[in-house]
């Protein structure tokens, strides 16, 4: 016999607060597909994707039907293509990207991640070619997502790669001018990239993973916000921040458990390994599905005001604690995303001038991703974009955490104008970059920022 209150509490998460499984992401190792000629390589890639993911759509629909929990997206993450397609020229890399794009459509997944290079310490010829191919790939494919890891705490930061990525962003934006530079939204630049992250655009199937694995991205900003709001509204005495953290923890527990249940069921039905649950509070532009609104429920009425960073730190930590208790299979990013254009409350705070790029950068030091889905002026020079990336990656590398950058220079538009990406990618007013152009010489030095000291940590 279940207590009616418990049943209604769980039901409320799905019914009222938009709990869903944001993504079932199948990781597929493609190393065995390597071949000296492009046609064979592409053929092997296609067949391997069909072999593992051919039933993904059907099984997700079965599990969604059984449990009544919406599975919003199905995705595929593959081995870093820079390794799989090493030795091929730019045309070969583009052919692989098109194969991924077409096969993803064939098996009914909306995005495929892994057009990836890991260049934190240096780059191979293949990795450099892959980065150079990005403007073409991101502007001529629909489903292919890319990520480049440019720094780790162990290796330092590859500034040559970052400088090239600054130019890649400008070129990609220009090639997708009609959609406000949307091509850049499919490229994530990482420091300390996780190898099992199921969320796009940064998902790839990293080293140490099995042939095929199911990773789950659960979301639930609406559920957490409702829990905090209820606690604040119903308490006779104003709850302390410790009590708010406890509430977030227990909510995160429940959300994570739903994700693990769905993930294990999908993996079991497909006969493949279950990997991890990534409980990340990933916003959507819908009202009520926003990380910003959670901070507001905690009392930070104006997002970007002093206190925003502390509130986000509390939220991020409580989510991780609740998730860790719920499952030993928690991985990926697991925290709060501050994806600005995708989060209606954050986008509103930008529009009214409360939330600035500098404050966002500070907030990313305590949240799980980084400068995510941020539109900047289209005339920003490549060196300034590179410097912005370097700053964000440095925060991750020094603090032993993942940081990522997904910035979109919007061609032909200036600060304060509206950038519209559509659908789940949302829209926002373009943020100005303070003192743009003021660090060109720094970026042009190139080379590598050495790995940080791991002792004397004060």
């Amino acid at each position: 016999m279940y207590r009616t209150e418990d049943v209604l509490a769980t039901l409320g998460m799905v019914r009222q607060h938009k709990l869903d499984v944001r993504t079932v992401t199948m990781g597929i190792d493609l190393q065995s597909c390597a071949a000296p000629d492009v046609a064979t390589l592409c053929d092997r890639v296609r067949h391997r994707l069909l072999h593992f993911a051919g039933r993904l759509r059907e099984v997700c629909q079965e599990v969604q039907g059984r449990y009544g929990i919406p599975i919003v997206n199905r995705r595929i993450a593959v081995s870093p293509i820079a390794s799989v397609a090493a030795g091929h020229d730019t045309e070969g890399l583009v052919a692989v990207a098109r194969t991924l794009d077409a096969t993803a459509a064939e098996v009914g997944v909306d995005l495929v991640g892994g057009f990836t290079a890991q260049v934190q310490k240096g780059w191979t010829e293949a990795e450099k070619r892959l980065i150079e191919a990005l403007p073409v790939v991101l502007s001529t494919t629909r489903r292919v997502c890319s990520s480049v890891n440019v720094g780790t705490t162990a290796a330092g930061i590859n500034m040559d790669a970052i400088a090239l990525l600054g130019r890649v962003l400008v070129d990609t934006a220009e090639r997708t001018r009609a959609s406000d530079g949307f091509g850049c939204a499919k490229l994530v630049i990482f420091g300390n990239a996780p190898t099992d992250n199921p969320f796009m655009a940064g998902a790839f199937h990293g080293a140490g993973e099995p042939d095929c694995v199911i990773n789950i991205g659960v979301s639930g900003p609406g559920v957490v916000k409702a829990a905090v709001e209820d606690l604040v509204r119903n308490a006779k005495v104003r709850p302390t921040l410790g009590e708010i953290a406890e509430e977030i923890k227990s909510t995160a527990f429940r959300v994570t458990r739903v994700g693990e249940l769905i993930g294990r069921e999908v993996a079991s039905r497909l006969g493949v390994a279950f990997g991890i649950v990534d409980l990340s509070l990933a916003p959507t532009p819908q009202v009520g599905d926003s990380v910003g609104e959670i901070l507001q429920a905690m009392g930070v009425e104006r997002l970007g005001a002093p206190g925003s960073t502390a509130a986000l730190a509390l939220l991020n930590d409580a989510v991780k604690k609740g998730g860790s208790f719920a499952s030993s299979s928690v991985g990926g990013l697991s925290g709060a995303f501050v994806a600005v254009s995708e989060d209606a409350a954050l986008a509103q705070a930008v529009a009214c001038g409360d939330l600035t790029l500098a404050k966002l950068e500070a907030m990313t030091a305590v949240c799980s991703v980084g400068l995510d889905m941020i539109a900047v002026p289209g005339d920003t020079d490549p060196e300034t974009l590179a410097a912005l990336i370097a700053d964000e990656v440095a925060i991750g590398v020094i603090n032993h955490k993942t940081t990522a950058v997904r910035i979109i220079p919007v061609p032909g538009k200036a600060a304060g104008e509206r950038a519209v990406f559509g659908g789940l990618f949302g829209e926002m007013d373009i943020l100005p970059i303070h003192a743009a152009g003021g660090s060109t010489a720094f970026v042009r030095h190139g080379g590598r920022i050495p790995a940080p000291l791991s002792s004397l940590r004060n």
């Binding site: 016999m1 279940y2 009616t4 418990d6 049943v7 209604l8 769980t10 039901l11 998460m13 799905v14 019914r15 969604q64 039907g65 059984r66 449990y67 009544g68 929990i69 527990f253 429940r254 458990r257 739903v258 693990e260 249940l261 294990r264 069921e265 079991s268 279950f274 208790f325 499952s327 030993s328 299979s329």
Partner: protein, 199 residues
């Protein structure tokens, strides 16, 4: 061994269980299973009691009644003749929740549509608070009946009644309300398709 099913109903008072179990003990019985609840001030209990030899149900009823005389117990005793069969073999357990405006006949109509599809209700709790009606039911769905199909039907049925109806697999509630490892498959069917997945 001989098993009897004993049910007792009375206005709720302190000491009823003490009296009922005392009578069973005096008669040499062992309680194998018991479920008890209080609803609007009325106590009700159902017990499966085992004896080493046959008992007269009437005598047993009298014994319980006498021992609990000051509570004015309504007692019934029937022999468990082992004829019960699993009404839904291989079925899986789901939780059905109905929320909305209270109106006459709701439970009857929902139970009717479930019975027609071979769904066996094993636990049901419903209450009205002012105009609000809520019902939480545990039920076994036959294996051939897809939950998505039944969910669609019930939602449509709920819409006609002006009520919200939700059908969720038991595993969701086990996962979110209990700290033990997450299970997939049928959580209560260890011989069947049950898969217990350790972390």
């Amino acid at each position: 061994m001989h098993t009897y099913i004993v049910t007792v109903t009375a206005a709720d008072r302190v000491g009823i269980i003490h009296a009922v179990t005392g009578a069973i003990s005096e008669q040499g019985g062992t309680i194998k299973e018991l479920s008890q609840t209080v609803l609007r001030g009325y106590f009700t209990i159902i017990l499966a009691v085992e004896f080493d030899g046959p008992r007269d149900p009437k005598g047993l009823r009298e014994a319980v009644h006498t021992r609990g005389e000051r509570f004015d117990l309504n007692v019934a005793v029937i022999p468990d003749e082992g004829r019960h069969v699993d009404p839904v073999p291989g079925g899986e357990r789901f939780i059905l929740t109905v929320l909305g405006q209270d109106r006459p006949g709701t439970i009857h109509r929902i139970a009717g549509s479930l019975a027609r599809r071979g769904v066996n209700i094993v636990d049901l709790h419903a209450r009205t608070e002012g105009p609000r009606f809520s019902l939480v039911m545990e039920a076994y769905l036959p294996p051939e009946l897809g939950p998505a199909e039944l969910r669609g039907e019930l939602e449509q049925f709920g819409a006609e009644l002006g009520m919200e109806v939700y059908l969720q697999h038991e595993n969701i509630f086990l996962a979110t309300n209990e700290p033990r490892p997450v299970r997939v498959g049928s959580a209560r069917n260890p011989e069947g398709s049950d898969v217990v997945v350790p972390h």
